[in-house]
Assembly symmetry: C2
Homo-oligomer: 307 residues x 2
């Protein structure tokens, strides 16, 4: 089954301790859709300006991503973000954000896209996310958000949380959203806000899946050389939803756990190069090779010690 993603298509300027790149094709919808496209067909709802050229379009076309819902704003400029990473890649500072055409974006979902069964609401104003959710008849909806909305529009965010199935955020965001420094307690509080499942991304430490009475945790893939962590979170979400949609899965524990591994696999590739470079060179064999590596690096004998 296919996926509809709403979110930014952007141009990033990324500074790392070792390198710097400008005009990198990026944004939540870009990373998400490319990752998910390895599993299943994806359609993007978003907006770009004149600076989004035929060359950029070819990137999506090459992965079979449907851009019919990508609005082109004549005379407008595409969303732009500039950020810098600390020396161990665990801290990120936003140096500049230009919303441009995204500032007054009002997504309209076409009749055909309203029936796409899986929906991902990329990080955006929670009212925009809810508006899209209401237009869609998706059977499974996941969403992202960030500290800016958690602090700036808490009431709107609470409303949006009530109409999604899965929330995918990082651990700092989970602590902020629940106002609790303990992530386990925070997760319980967040599940009480509406989502049936919560996935907490923890960067190099992996990711955890919370449900009512269930808990699953996976480590991060051991990466010796990180080039650019930008997009890891959206790529993760693309792998998760991609796997679920490809297998027509709902929220059963076994499918979600496998989806988490595929999310982590996709994210682990993204950070190996700037922007979508590594993802675009990826093969399905490489994806399944890394899936097997996740299995072998987490396996241990289940037979208990006889005291």
């Amino acid at each position: 089954m296919s996926i509809l993603v709403v979110g930014t298509v952007a141009f990033d300027h990324v500074k790392t301790p070792f390198d710097e790149r400008a005009e990198v094709l990026a944004g939540a919808a870009t990373y998400f859709s490319i990752a998910a496209s390895f599993f299943t067909p994806v359609s993007i709802v978003g907006v770009v300006g004149d600076d989004f050229t035929a060359e950029h379009e070819r990137v999506f076309n090459a992965r079979g991503i449907d851009l019919s819902g990508l609005e082109r704003r004549a005379g407008g400029k595409t969303f732009r973000w500039t950020g810098e990473y600390g020396y161990d890649f665990n801290t990120r500072t936003t140096l500049d954000t230009q919303l441009n055409v995204f500032a007054d974006f009002q997504p309209r979902i076409s009749a055909a896209q309203q029936d796409i069964p899986y929906l991902f609401l990329g990080n955006a104003h929670p009212s925009l996310q809810r508006d899209v959710r209401r237009q869609s008849r998706a059977r499974l909806t996941a969403m992202d958000t960030m500290d800016f909305w958690i602090q700036g529009t808490p009431d709107e965010l609470r409303e949006t949380l009530q109409c999604v199935d899965v929330l995918i955020i990082n651990d700092e965001e989970a602590r902020q959203l629940a106002r609790d420094p303990n992530v386990i307690r925070a997760a319980k509080a967040i599940l009480a806000m509406g989502p049936k499942r919560l996935i907490v991304k923890r960067g190099e430490y992996g990711a955890t899946l919370f449900g009512a009475g269930s808990f699953f945790a996976i480590p991060g893939f051991p990466q010796e050389s990180v080039a650019d962590p930008t997009g890891a979170g959206d790529t993760f979400a693309g792998g998760v939803l991609g796997y679920l949609a490809a297998t027509g899965s709902g929220l059963d524990e076994e499918s979600l756990r496998k989806a988490m591994i595929y999310g982590s696999v996709m994210a682990s590739f993204t950070i190996e190069a700037f922007g979508t470079e590594r993802l675009l060179a990826l093969t399905r064999d490489e994806i399944n090779d890394r899936y097997r590596q996740f299995k072998s690096m987490t396996y241990f004998d289940s037979i208990e010690h006889s005291f």
Copy 2:
């Protein structure tokens, strides 16, 4: 088989955001030995002052821990540490350290204890650790260290690292020791310094095991209520060595992985109460129950997706 541990027996004064306790029976040798005693016999080499009373001794006796190598210094005071935890328990500040009788401690291992096959060198001056290592004929030696020695006595530490099998440190220490912000690269560099295996403790994020060409990672146990994280690291080491010694294991991957789980299980109990309180109330059934929980919270289907 049994274990010899050298390290501090101490009295801690612990401040958390929610509580405070003084004169808590603690120290590396205390936490390690109590944890390991659930698996196998343990002997302590250490030193205490007059303030170590018959009541304190009963704690060790109740767990069958051999104190024949615990030197009692008449007129001396036992090692004392005062520390404070930040609101999310991820930061710890040392407010006061009084070495007292530990300041000029020169451990002498008895003839009988020299043949104990498993040895744990608790955090101490690396020359003291090496001195103990030289007196012992243990077949498997593990050690801990800390930033104070990594920065203060780097040459002595390098020498000590060459005569141990397993180094057990936290991730910040690993980064410091290898002078590399990437833990995966840091681990490779540390393995080149001598130890055959490196275990990196990552607090609430779990722990990782590194060997030449092998990698294993486990999440932290989901803890809703942390009372006092002090001793978690030494308890972890006690569980690891305890399991290895109880099963007569060497450095084979399967045994080390199970040992890591038992280490994490023991540490997860320690932090539920102040000092050794929770450990002393623990049962073997509770330990194996939590072992099973680790299995169920990390399990995922190994069958790959057919693209």
